[in-house]
Amino acid sequence: MTEQILQIMAWLVPAGPLLTFFLIMLFTKHNRTLSWMLAWAAIISSLVMGWLLAFNVFGQGYHYLEEQPIVVASAIDWLPFGDYAQGLWVRMGMAVDPLTAVMLIMVPFATTMIFIYSVGYHNYGQPRGTHVGEPNHGNEDPLIARFFALMSLFGGAMLLMVLADNLLLLFIGWEIMGFCSYSLIGFWYAREYPDPKEMPIPRIPPRKAAVKAFMTTRVADVLMLLGIVFFYRAFGTLSFSEAFSFEALQTATTVVGFGGLGIMTLLIFAGTVGKSAQWPLHVWLPDAMEGPTPVSAIIHAAAMVSAGVYLIVRIFPLIAVTIEGNPTVGVVIAIIGAFTAIMSATIAVAQNDVKGVLAYSTISQLGFMVAAIGIGAYVAAAFHLITHAFFKALLFLASGSVIHGMEHGALHVHDHHTDPQDMRHMGGLRQKMPRTFWTFLIGGMALSGLPFITAGFWSKDEIFADAWYQWVHDGKGLALLVFIMLAAAALLTAFYTMRQISLTFLGKPRSALAAHAHESNNYMTLPLIGLAVFAVAAGWFGIPDNFLGVEWGKINLFHHYVGATIYAVMADLYAAKLVAHKIFTLPFSWIPLLTSLTVALGGLFLGWWVYGRNPLQQGQPDPLKAPLGPVHTFLERKWYWDELYQKVFIGPTVYLSEKIVYEFVDRGLIDGLLHLIARVFYTIGYYMRRFEEVVISDGVDWIKDQFFVMAREFRQLQTGKIQEYTLVSMLFAVALAALVLLINYGWFARLLSSF
């Protein structure tokens, strides 16, 4: 494959699904078959091209990759910035290194499985449903074309993010995925629920869940935006390869300082806290289960939520340098991860919704990955990311199959009130839905970390090994704390997984719905098998080189290849004492292995002991409810975080917006001031008008009237009689003559001077 073909493929991988979104929305929306076929075509072509690219990368061999991790790269000048000749224009493009390659193997595959599954999930081929914007149990969803359009957009955005060679393009893919998440959680936008207090499992309507998801992650995203901008200004570039070179990082430690780097890292990490549903921004993920199950599988298990982890894996060099120079940052990240892991594991134990358990399980497992990064376990985090995606997607799809079976049973017995997702109504589905059972079991075992034959075991074990090593070898208390917390979480994980399997599949059906369930169609069950294969086998690529103390050679392909992505830069940083460790193979230790085995097997056993040994009967309460009492309620109500947030953040914001900012400030203060000014001017105008009316108008009128009075007086002289006129004129003549004489002959002057 020539360089150029590889570059074109790198662009086509995300472009295909993105374009499909537009094609479906603009042209094929009314043809359902064509729509999903287009979606399939796009994602399968991305799968093929993605795998070709990945194998091309791996084919270079890890020694080559350690020197030259980026195998395929292609970028364009995107954003104008200053003089072109100065080279500041923002360049964006695709880059394929081993980390991207392994993501290119997982993401398109999982997405393809889900696309296949979705055709069956939305009952394609059945009579067309009439409820637009609501679930159409048993009938084909009328908006199925829109579904595939949005899923294609999502797939394209995820692939864009994975292939992005710079932080901005990553953010673009990140945000578009957020929009897809919002749209797909709210896919059944018209669905309404009765009062939550009357529901056995309280739910919020999908449209509200969608807003909750978007807004919670938006809190994280605006902080991440600040982090990205800080990053850009500090490094002068957004490109990963340029920013994460040894020289750039070394310069940053002096120019920006560890305080600044700490802020930068935490701001960007905030994005992960939101997107990967870590405490305290975890509240959106359980409600995101309101979306159709394929959505839960791909967006909220395999891809989008793992994007948060992908981000911190991608910027690991920055994180490693920061946590070495500013240990507080490491503590923050690790503790958030570990706390989230254990907190959500406790909540999962008390959930009754089959998807709810899986949601909290996802949050918990993401906590594992975040904690791993917090203590600097790069490869372990990436490994768990990949394996988790496979088995979690599997579990979700299988749960969707279960729900479909239950809904079929509901249609059969005409019961539309019992919640088909409530595990308390399930039971005995092992016989009714064998394929679903076995694949669910495989996924569950992988999640619990069943030793050796499931992928989850290998990836979890590596995290434990890394934490233990740092405690023993470096004396890092944080690593020990993480170790203990994650071990406890792993125990709970195995426990609640066994609980879930027992409640769902074992024993006898506890309701008519379960009694009349049947296996799902092939569209749905075949992808389960596909994913199950990976849930088992994916872990075998990460078996440690020195497992059980024996040197097996370089069998830990995952470590060597994915580690090669940052091998060189970490080695340089390590040599300059800017990071604690470079990428190296951990020496084998029995403690973490034994711990993994104990918690996994112990948790499964306990779960079986409580729930599986004597499966629950109909109407029988949860055996943990009585002994735990209020603790159980606390867990079942999810530690009351939602109620707290409503009281502290959401309620006040609404009040602030409506009553204070708008009514009080804008209309009351500002407009009030303006109206006051207006009133002053009106008053001035009023008085000026009065002045004009009284003083000027009336004044002029008065003068006019005086003239009339004067005229009236004078008119009396006009008697009309000639003789009187003559008399007056004569008198005047005499007076005038006298005056002339007086003046001319100086008598006037003499008269005046005598005074």
Binding site: M25, D77, W78, L79, P80, F81, G82, D83, L88, V132, G133, L168, F171, I172, W174, E175, I176, F179, Y182, S183, G186, Y189, A190, E192, P205, R207, K208, A210, V211, F214, M215, R218, V219, V222, L223, L225, L226, V229, F230, Y232, R233, T653, V654, L656, S657, E658, K659, V661, Y662, E663, V665, D666, R667, I670, D671, L674, A678
Partner: protein, 514 residues
């Protein structure tokens, strides 16, 4: 052809006036003819601007297509007009939005002739302002743009149109008073109103001296003049707390009136900052940049919160304009800080170039998305005769095409990457980080609320079960599609490939700081 080339700028500016006259001479009852004639004639300036666009010399990036004619040599005011990258983008925006607004106005039934004529006259005023290189001419066009808008709101507006039109007119005019006085002072002090000349002579007036003919100290005069300019333009942008005229004016104006008001008229204020305030008062602008940034921050935050608190769809979109223009103000604040900086610093200059690019681009982008949003509000209002979000619900099921288009447009308004709003917001954020970090960080609260109010608008309108009173509402007509699709295509293309507009802006801005 030569005539076209030589007089391109004059043609672009005054053709709408000619069009208004032609339309005005048509008989009032020929409504269809009037509408079509107005639409057809309004496309001509767009064509001419496109010619300008493709003949603009990017290497020069300075004032081009200049026109100079003596007008009042006695006071030093001449008809001096010209275009650079920034004004060219505004030209494109104006000539693009006017035909779309006219097309959106086809539902107006009373006094169609006067309506269309007023629109075209307003277009002339806006174009003339963007091209002005003389303060008197600028002011004339500035005031000219107010009157048609006043009538548009007053005659064809909503329930509270008397209050809204009056408030809009008087508030803006109150600001203009100071502006006129300051312009006069500048003219008297330097003997000219020519902007490029003033950028040398006025700016370089000896700081400690007194102004000839008045005996007042130069510093005092400049400060007062600066604040007068600032207040006038702050009212127009609008910047918090001078913003309260906008929700009333936007809400009561007819749909197309709101489109142009939000789309172009607000940009006149921002343009005034970039073209006049900062280049003519660099030191004062530098000193008050912090205040400007803080006010921009308040616009973003409080505009966002207020928008979230709305239950009137149109008023929500109106407040969203304040929220978005706040980013423009942040960018302008950075420009003000760096432009008047006594020394020079590459890092700060780069910040300023990025921020100014972002601000101007945000002006362009917001013009598109705000116009689109107001249009869509008009679409639903034409059918439902209400804008009350509490009454809406389930519209997506009844009007699926409208719903999808509304979501697309809302996402552009929200700043979803892939669409145009994000690019300009990112640029402003990048440019502001190093200089006004605190204001920027707090502004993120406003950006958070942007998501909240957009989702509120979409959710209340489109989601939820279908409400009986809205059954049977017809989906979008061909005419309505013709209005919105160009805007959507631009929003998407600028989100994916912002270069084709941004290069013009970038070239001019780089030269400005170079």
């Amino acid at each position: 052809m030569d005539f076209l080339q030589d007089n391109l700028l004059n043609l672009v500016i005054f053709f709408p006036l000619l069009a208004a006259l032609i339309v005005f001479l048509l008989p009032e009852d020929e409504k269809e003819l009037i509408r079509r004639m107005a639409l057809g004639l309004s496309l001509a300036p767009l064509g001419l601007v496109l010619i300008m666009w493709f003949t603009y010399d990017r290497y020069d990036a300075g004032i081009q297509f200049a026109v100079f004619a003596e007008w009042f040599p006695a006071i030093g005011s001449n008809y001096h007009m010209g275009i650079d990258g920034i004004s060219l983008s505004m030209f494109l925006l104006t000539t693009l939005l006017t035909p779309l607004a006219i097309l959106a106005s086809f539902t107006i039934q009373e006094k169609v002739r006067m309506y269309m004529s007023l629109f075209l006259v307003m277009e002339m005023a806006m174009l003339g302002l963007f091209a002005s290189l003389d303060l008197m001419i600028f002011f004339i066009f500035w005031e000219f743009g107010l009157v048609p808008m006043y009538f548009l709101i007053k005659i064809w507006g909503g329930k509270d149109r008397d209050y809204a039109s009056f408030k809009f007119f008087v508030y803006t005019m109150a600001g203009s008073l100071g502006l006129l006085l300051s312009i006069q002072v500048m003219g008297i002090a330097t003997g000219t109103f020519d902007i490029p000349t003033l950028m040398q002579t006025w700016v370089n007036l000896p700081a400690g001296g007194t102004l000839e003919g008045t005996g007042l100290p130069v510093d005092l005069v400049k400060t007062v003049a600066f604040w007068a300019y600032m207040i006038a333009f702050a009212i127009k942008v609008p910047i918090w707390p001078f913003h309260t005229w906008l929700p009333d004016a936007h809400t009561e104006a007819p749909t197309a009136g709101s489109m142009i008001l939000a789309g172009v008229l607000l940009k006149l204020g921002a343009y005034g900052f970039i073209r006049l305030v900062i280049p003519l008062f660099p030191q004062q602008a530098h000193l008050t940049a912090g205040i400007l940034a803080t006010l921009g921050m308040l616009s973003i935050i409080l505009g966002g919160y207020a928008a979230f608190g709305q239950w009137d769809f149109k008023r929500l979109v109106a407040y969203s304009s304040i929220n978005h223009m706040g980013f423009v103000v942040l960018g302008i604040a950075v420009m003000a800080y760096v432009y008047g900086l006594p020394g020079s610093s590459t890092a700060l200059t780069n910040d300023a170039i990025m921020a100014t690019n972002g601000a101007v681009f945000q002006m362009f982008n917001h013009g598109l998305s705000a116009a689109a949003m107001f249009f869509l509000v008009g679409v639903i209002y034409d059918r439902a005769h209400t804008r009350d979000l509490k009454r809406f619900g389930g519209i997506w099921t009844i009007m699926p095409v409208f719903g999808t288009i509304l979501i697309f447009t809302s996402m552009a308004s929200l700043g979803l990457p892939g669409l145009n709003g994000f690019v300009s917001e990112f640029m402003v954020v990048r440019g502001t980080w190093g200089i006004f970090t605190v204001q920027l960080a707090l502004s993120m609260l406003g950006l958070l609320m942007t998501g909240a109010y957009i989702l509120k608008a979409i959710g209340e309108t489109l989601h939820g079960p279908v409400k009986a009173e809205w059954r049977g509402l017809p989906d979008m007509t061909l005419r309505e599609h013709l209005v919105i699709w160009p805007l959507m295509a631009l929003m998407l293309s600028l989100g994916i490939w912002p270069q084709w507009v941004l290069v013009f802006i970038n070239d001019t801005v780089t030269k400005l700081f170079g």
